[in-house]
Symmetry: C2
């Protein structure tokens, strides 16, 4: 696979788009075969008594097929992420430096049991010229196998190297993958906090992604109550199990007394249970929690609530208890918003909208391989741009450093 | 320090430039004190019988002071690396996404005994709005202490947070630093291969830098012999102990017989010892090495030499034995050069010039904190741009995701 990487890196955007187009075609053509494998996965999952919410994610039907085919088409229209110049500089006469985007190399992606994720991830890797090792959730093993074989054949048919895609099917292959630090350049694990932590703690390979998603909303004193309630309800309930769902609400003390009862009504009507500090419990009926009980990613219809005196107290709370994912301020005061957005140390900082917008599709990236809370390399939703790095190309005509050290030659640094 | 980071991140370019200007001023003003401390370090090092080559790096004299002051001045003229927009996109009416550069946060730099490095590293961190923990080599402890105190006071005088710079003085503090993964965002170790490997293997903090510097030059069949010899001699001898010095020369078999004797003369005249495969030894007098003995970073006047049949064989050798640092092709055939430069998986790929050009100053970055062979985040010489990350700022007017999921609202994605 390491050997296929330079060849794939040298492929043209046309080659890679051809692969994407052949994938779309073959998935359509062989849909019956995919649906049949998926029916077997679903039947087996039901036998195992899997939760209905999870079952829904396993399903790969006509709708999901259309979604991934549309995704493949959109990806073809996006510009080539490779060969992009981010620096062109003449260091001296006939000595020219370029910084050019190139693929990262070999990427290992370990993802949850969602067949559409397999298509999305492999197509993002292909478009960005990266070799990929894919390991999906075991609950969709049959569907994944069929999808992978169709995708792999299309890639070969498009003339890309045979070894540029590899599917790991056994769970124990994850540990093998973690040990491959000489051959794998980046790991992207998706899944539970515990799982991602396990990956991060057991490999020397750089890991991109996130373990926790502890997102906050801070309702400032200058907020608009009418906007606030729908945003908080959406951020908590629109997809409770998502990493960008809100877990903690901070409310400015001056507005709490009036706002909390209205909010509590709206949340209760949507099935949300409130856990608040003593002070919150004095204003509305809720479970009482300790003043430092704010490290929880509930992923459930539960919201922690606390009062603060200032935007700075909110910022300090978020930087201490948050997971640097996505945090929002509700305020009509743009100066306060600017302070919050500059000082909260998170991949996404929002004013007056739901934290649920943190998503590659909603940012217009076409798709995402995951969301990163790391600060090194890609941050936030990771699309094509997060899957490339760069190299420096220097073109000379025989220059040596000795001449510059002795003063015989001198750099003139002129950006082209 | 984690608490100082948001304040420093929110500082203006003027504040940060003021700090740099005060540092330059105070270093000049207190030069006698610095030189005195340095004289003590040098005297102690001599007592310890330190090697003359190392001794030279410890020295901080009028020349070095002028160099760092010039560096500080140049850094002030560089544009603010923060608050730079790399994406501005209207997702929908009144829902606008920006991607804005911001500091990484808290950076730990562990560097060799070179007082000028302390000034360079701390000033790059200040200019890029990063808090820094600095640990320099013990041989210059006295000089470092004086320099750090002067720098720290200037930073405070410029109104930046007191806790934005910290100096670790004891060796055992390195292990404490490695354990700080909750408070330190990035480590940049500089030093020996063994030392950097130790850092990489003993921390959960992302590490930027390089352990090995195994750089190659490939002399292609279409090369210009007259350019080749000075380039090879420069790359090997101009600063032998540097990470960007060449360690292995690959020569196209068709030109070897004619070229090797001339090269051997030039290398021998410069004190370079050649280690070659049997085949090389048949053409010139040299020590014979095994066909797979190419993992060595000699950091000495020693060059390994091997013959290859094609540019692809050279590429494969470099991707297998190299350290992804800097590799050069000598050829007048631009097609061959393009193939080499696209497929060699290194931070720097050169045509017809010395590998010794791989350096932040020579790339026109003003200075560097180090050279990265990693592919995640900064690659190659790391200046200001490598010390920043970005965050997404999303400005809304009450938008919720539920409306987009239900079809009530629709994204229109328009880049601004």
């Amino acid at each position: 696979m390491k050997l296929a990487a330079p060849t794939l890196a040298a492929s043209t955007n046309e080659d890679r788009n051809l692969a994407l187009s052949l994938i779309a075609e073959t998935l359509q053509k062989h849909s019956a075969k995919i649906f049949e494998a998926n029916a077997q996965d679903i039947a087996f999952a039901k036998e195992q008594g899997i939760a209905p919410a999870v079952l829904k994610r396993l399903k790969f039907n006509e709708d999901k097929l259309n979604d991934v085919i549309n995704g493949l088409k959109q990806l073809q229209t996006l510009p080539d992420p490779l060969q992009k110049l981010s620096l062109s500089r003449e260091l001296d006469k006939d000595l020219t430096l370029y910084r050019v985007s190139c693929p990262i190399g070999v990427i290992g992606v370990i993802f949850e049991a969602r067949p559409d994720a397999l298509v999305q991830i492999s197509s993002l890797c292909i478009k960005s010229g990266n070799c990929a090792i894919l390991k999906g959730g075991k609950e969709t093993a049959r569907t994944n196998k069929v999808l992978f074989e169709l995708i792999h054949q299309s890639v070969i048919d498009a003339g890309l190297p045979t070894d540029c895609l590899f599917q790991a099917e056994q769970h124990n292959e994850i540990d093998e993958l973690l040990a491959c630090h000489e051959n794998v350049d980046l790991l992207i694990p998706r899944g539970s906090n515990t799982f991602v932590q396990y990956i991060m703690n057991n490999t020397k390979i750089p890991v991109m992604g996130h373990a926790d998603g502890i997102c906050h909303i801070y309702a400032d004193e200058d907020f608009d109550e009418m906007k606030a309630i729908p945003i908080i309800v959406d951020a908590k309930t629109q997809y409770t199990a998502a990493c960008n769902a809100v877990e903690t609400l901070l409310v400015h003390r001056s507005v709490a007394k009036d706002f909390l009862p209205k909010l509590a009504d709206a949340l209760t009507a949507n099935g949300v249970k409130i856990r608040g500090t003593k002070e919150v419990a004095a204003a509305i009926s809720c479970e009482i929690i300790a003043d430092d009980d704010f490290q929880n990613e509930y992923l459930d219809l539960v919201l922690a609530v606390k009062l603060v005196d200032t935007v700075d107290e909110a910022i300090a709370h978020i930087n201490k208890y948050g997971s640097h994912h996505t945090d929002c301020i509700l305020t009509d005061n743009d100066t306060t918003a600017a302070r919050f957005m500059q000082r909260v140390d998170s991949a996404g900082v929002y004013q007056n909208c739901s934290t649920r917008f943190a998503d590659g599709f909603r940012y217009g990236f076409g798709a995402e391989v995951g969301i990163s809370t790391g600060k090194i390399h890609a941050r936030g939703p990771v699309g094509l741009e997060g899957l490339v790095t760069y190299k420096y190309k220097l073109f000379g005509k025989g220059q040596i450093v000795g001449d510059y050290a002795s003063g015989k030659s001198e750099f003139h640094f002129r950006d082209l």
